[in-house]
Symmetry: C2
């Protein structure tokens, strides 16, 4: 008896990681005179991992981690021009247009006829709000939750706060670590829709043997799958 | 018939602006070889104002605006060492300890006996959550709303979402622009508790003649005031 379908937003409903990868390529080009690309990537990832506790998820923290890594890797000899370009790159990311993923709009429109829909996303508050507004999908959701982390406790809090029994809830997303696995652990259903790009900090194992785990290739398969649960 | 008392957090329940002022003093000292302090302050404020649309409120955006201004004012000749110190200053702000304002805890404890309490705050999501957790006051509130902006529409949305009639609600805060005036405009009561430090972007006029406007000097006066509304 499913009642509620929850959707992740970034790289589930619309593209996101590609803007990070593009900026990262620009970062590597800017720092190429000072650092080996592979080493630079590893150091940026280390900075992101170290800083996530304070910065949380999102573009502002990513920009600050790029700047920190640029200072670090050049032993503070990075030219101001490079720093100014990293600031500009972050601001461009915050303005990037929303491109819906194939089948996203149709799946959302179809499912809202029969289910309550929630959007559950993490990242910078204002940036997530902007993307939801620009996506044109905001109005189709019965609720939006922008959270700082997607843990089992956070999902439990959302379900309890909204009076939902976990086994009536499905969470659909491209991250096993943030969308699928914690919801299954909280007692709900997890539908994994892999995206071709994945941020290294989101890597996790798929619980393929779990009875409440499902996997689809594209969102177009979601309404059919939901009807058969 | 008041039912619900809403509190702002930063500089209403605990100190906040002082950490920004301290960092700004450090910023000016670091940039002193390159820029006149008054000019630097004006340029930083212009950057904050320009960027708020994308960054929203909070320490990460403030740090990025400092770095941008440092590049700007030195025509990109700012040493990497200074940038690294600005990054470190931002990270220190994100770790600053919570110091409750005088009377805050007593007022909250006393009022929760008879009223529903909400915390309504803006800023970086994770940073606000950390501060609420560290304040020790989180458990005393019936709800917490972390918003990207405190507009009349946002307050109306919160009140409607929680089934509250605006004229049963009081908002208590140190910002006329963000806490007091929009709630009065939304039909609620506004209690102004001035803090000795105020961010320039929060300046506004006090609606002293309005029947739902009140002003107190310290939070210790709040329970008595509320009982007489």
């Amino acid at each position: 008896m499913l009642s509620t379908i929850c959707f992740d937003a970034d790289d589930t409903l619309w593209h996101n990681e590609r803007f990070f990868k593009l900026t990262q390529a620009r970062f590597q080009a800017l720092l190429a005179p000072y650092a080996d690309p592979a080493d630079l990537e590893a150091r940026l990832l280390r900075a992101e991992r170290r800083n996530i506790e304070h910065y949380g998820f999102g573009i502002k923290g990513f920009t600050l981690s790029m700047i920190e890594t640029a200072c670090d890797v050049t032993e503070n000899r990075v030219p101001g021009e490079v720093i100014a370009q990293l600031i500009a790159a972050g601001q461009e990311m915050l303005r990037h247009p929303i491109e819906l993923l194939p089948g996203a709009e149709t799946a959302v429109r179809e499912l809202r006829e029969d289910y309550s829909l929630l959007l559950i996303t993490k990242g910078d508050l204002l940036d997530q709000e902007r993307k939801i507004a620009q996506s044109g999908l905001g109005e189709m959701f019965d609720g939006v939750e922008i959270v700082s982390e997607k843990s089992v406790e956070v999902y439990r809090g959302i379900f309890t706060g909204r009076g939902l029994a976990a086994d009536n809830v499905v969470m659909v997303g491209n991250s096993l670590k943030s969308d699928v696995n914690p919801v299954i652990e909280a007692g709900g259903w997890g539908v994994f829709v892999p995206h071709d790009l994945q941020w290294d900090l989101e890597a996790a194992e798929a619980p393929r043997a779990h009875p409440r785990f499902r996997e689809i290739r594209v969102l177009g398969e979601l309404p059919g799958l939901i009807r058969n649960i």
